[in-house]
């Protein structure tokens, strides 16, 4: 690991200026923001293509979300993967085949640490350093301003040839506003503050939201709490972790790769669920208002089990809070001691002016392949995807795509121009054959097969002969 003072002493004095402040010229070096899975994949692949890389990471270690030591890590003690090992690992750095189908989060951290060591990535990472501003500079370059995490210490600006934003999208809680919330005397936390079952043991707990976080936490509360209500604002499909004796995502992938039409896959999936999980409305759950694949998959074999055992009571959406309890949309009132808002996370790019990513009023950037902004060819976002499979394979190829793209710009400017024109003309394709449910979370949901097919075309197009 390097320290900032080391870097300073090695560097020549700044020769560039911005608004009266010095800017350190990093030449052809590329800046990567974040050393989670996406940032590590970016460093590794850019390095492999011969680029110099500086990565800034505001935490003190690698692993991002999977590093439970980090304050902003969203993982709780019982987190296991929801995507199975072969569909989750990096394509060029498989996890040990002796690991379980769905490894524990601590294994994921050790995996990412080994990846960083194996490919010697740590010397490129400035830990404890937060990126506070990324601004366009002359010649399609970027001024990146950093400071020590926590805000103390001086700011420092360096100029880079390109920037890869890999800051993750599962750390800024999405907090719903409720009437009466201020008066409520019970405890309210977001799922990101949920760490282990001691927090719910013996309490009356209301879990709001049925993403994977909400379902995992409801299952834990179902076992440990005195009472568990699970509030959901729509009916969902609860996919088991295993189907036909295989991890369910492997079965789903096989169907998608066979190019079975979506309606047929949905029909088959509905049939299979009907025959195994059964009709959930008999537990008082609403009928799903959408077909499978139209919301981000919930993979949880235990939720239905605990509902069936009476340990979890499904309830509708929250209408408002009172001093002592919660009023539900069906008029019922319940009195939880603890409310866990498992309402998801919001992507945030505070260090970038919104117009750079083409961000709309609802905070959604407009990016070609969920990566490339329309008018800034030397900026790319990595990992802004919600796939129906593991994220790492997709992020790996995103990183390769960025590396090839930046090389193509140098070696074949003519071909690069035609690709740039296509980025600029993108009409906002979504890479998902299912019509995803309009919701705050689904605008970056992708079908991994559809997405990878598009990535394959782009990779082939960007390849420069050796």
């Amino acid at each position: 690991m390097s320290t900032h003072s080391e870097q300073e002493s090695l560097e020549p004095a700044a020769t560039l200026w911005r608004d009266g402040r010095p800017v350190y010229d990093r030449g052809d070096t590329i800046c990567v923001i974040g050393a989670g899975a996406s940032g590590l994949a970016a460093i590794k692949n850019l390095k492999e293509y011969g680029f110099g890389v500086d990565c800034y990471e505001r935490e003190t270690g690698v692993g991002g979300a999977w590093n439970w030591r980090h304050d902003r890590s969203p993982v709780y003690a019982s987190t296991h993967l929801v995507s199975s090992r072969p569909l989750t690992e990096f394509p060029d750095f498989p996890m040990p085949d002796t690991w379980p189908d769905y490894p524990h989060h601590s294994l994921l951290l050790s995996y990412l640490e080994r990846y960083a060591d194996h490919f010697d990535l740590r010397p490129h990472i400035w830990f404890g350093t937060e990126v506070v501003r990324v601004e366009p500079a002359d010649g399609e370059r970027w001024d990146v301003t950093t400071r020590s995490t926590g805000g103390y210490g001086a700011e420092r600006t360096s100029r880079y040839a390109a920037v890869v934003v890999a800051n993750g999208h599962n750390w800024a809680p999405k907090m719903p506003a409720y009437e009466g919330l201020d008066e409520f005397r019970g405890q309210v936390i977001h799922a990101s503050a949920y760490k282990d079952a001691t927090q719910v043991r013996g309490k009356r707990v209301l879990v709001v939201g049925a993403g994977n976080s909400g379902c995992d936490i409801a299952v834990e509360a179902g076992q440990q709490a005195a009472r568990c209500w699970h509030s959901i604002r729509r009916g969902y499909w609860y996919l088991p972790k295993y189907a036909f004796g295989r991890p369910a995502d492997q079965v789903g992938h096989a169907a998608a790769a066979l190019r079975l039409p979506l309606w047929l896959r949905q029909w088959l999936f509905h049939r299979a669920l009907k025959l195994t999980v059964g009709d959930l409305t008999r537990f008082g759950l609403p009928r799903p208002d959408h077909r499978v694949y139209e919301t981000h998959p919930i993979v949880n074999s235990q939720l239905v089990h605990y509902i069936g055992h009476g340990a979890i009571t499904p309830v509708p959406d929250v209408a408002r809070f009172t001093r002592t309890g919660v009023v539900l949309t069906d008029g019922r009132e319940i009195e939880p001691d603890l409310v866990v808002l498992a309402t998801g996370y919001l992507p945030r790019f505070e260090f970038l002016a919104p117009e750079i990513l083409g961000t709309d009023a609802a905070g959604r950037p407009s990016l070609h392949l969920n990566m490339f902004p329309r008018r800034h060819p030397t900026l790319a976002v990595a990992g802004l995807l919600q796939p129906d499979a593991g994220l790492f394979p997709l992020v790996h190829w995103q990183a390769v795509m960025i590396a090839r793209w930046l090389r193509l710009r140098e070696l074949a400017p003519e071909r690069a121009r035609s690709f740039a024109a296509r980025i600029a003309a993108d009409t906002g394709e979504r890479w998902n054959s299912a019509k995803v449910k309009e919701s705050t979370r689904h605008w970056f949901e992708v079908g991994h097969v559809e997405y990878l097919r598009a990535v394959q075309r782009t990779l082939d197009e960007l390849e420069v002969a050796a």
Partner: protein, 273 residues
């Protein structure tokens, strides 16, 4: 075809839906006295051979020149777990699993059909470099040559028996008969499926991460004809490095030191120097 050209396919349905099962893998090791930061070498034996074939001479020699050296026995070979139905994909999986478990990015060195396995592994793991020693890339030409030179050892393989290599195919006359005899007695066999796949397989995808490739062989190899050696080298846009007078098993033959020194010199120059 394969080598530098061809395309990396990123949707990997067989690998994602039918992952290769775990197996116990024998890995033999020789460590240098001091870590000079040189990349680890992972040696991959060909069909019938186990990690022992490298432990005999090359591992210690590589370690004496400061390269951490490892050799794996492919499943069903040497001290690794049984695998009577293993495929080439399973063998390549074994190589990649061991490579990623090493502390640093490794150089893959494959011998014989192990070189083909390494070619598959190079398409899945960004090695520091790839070295193909007396590579058997299979196909019908190789089969024809094997039939002509060693009908008794080759014909049984066609009906599912073991492919048997004769002493004089593997070693030069410089290696004493008794030694050659003990080596051939240690030979095992690859699975019947893998033997067939040696004849009929999809060409490996190009190596990922553009590693430098070295092809090493002997013009007097009685398993790999000189033309096949040149053809393999050409796939990777290189010329083979030749050691006349040696048999197919360059790591066990009497003059084993020459090829390994040449390989290590090349690595020192290309990667370390």
């Amino acid at each position: 075809m394969s080598g530098r050209s061809g395309r990396t396919r990123i949707i990997r349905t067989p690998e994602w839906t039918r992952p290769v099962p775990a197996v116990r893998r024998e890995v033999l090791t020789a460590s240098p006295e001091a870590d000079e930061g040189k990349p680890p070498l992972l040696f991959v034996p060909g069909f019938g051979h186990g990690a022992w074939a490298f432990a005999e001479n090359w591992l210690d020699h590589a370690a004496s020149r400061a390269f951490p050296a490892y050799a794996v026995s492919l499943r069903g070979h040497g001290g690794s777990g049984a695998a009577p139905t293993a495929t080439l994909r399973a063998y390549a999986h074994d190589v990649v699993q061991v490579a990623v478990s090493l502390p640093r990015q490794a150089v893959l060195v494959g011998h014989g059909a192990g070189a083909l396995v390494v070619a598959y592994a190079l398409a899945r793991y960004p090695a520091r470099a790839g070295v193909l020693v007396a590579p058997v890339f299979g196909g019908w030409g190789t089969f024809g040559a094997a039939l002509r030179r060693n009908p008794a050892g080759t014909v049984p393989a066609v009906v599912g028996g073991a492919l048997r290599l004769r002493r004089r195919q593997l070693f030069s006359r410089e290696l004493p008969d008794a030694v050659a005899q003990t080596y051939t007695e240690r030979l095992g066999r690859a699975s019947t499926r893998a033997q067939w796949q040696l004849l009929i397989h999809r060409a490996p995808e190009p190596p990922v991460g553009k590693p430098p490739i070295l092809v090493v062989g002997s013009p007097d190899d009685r398993v790999v004809p000189a033309s096949a050696l040149t053809r393999t080298a050409r796939r990777y846009g290189v010329a083979p490095l030749l050691f006349p007078g040696m048999g197919h098993d360059l790591m066990l033959d009497a003059r084993w030191r020459e090829p390994i020194d040449a390989i290590l010199d090349w690595l020192d120059k290309d990667l370390v120097g």
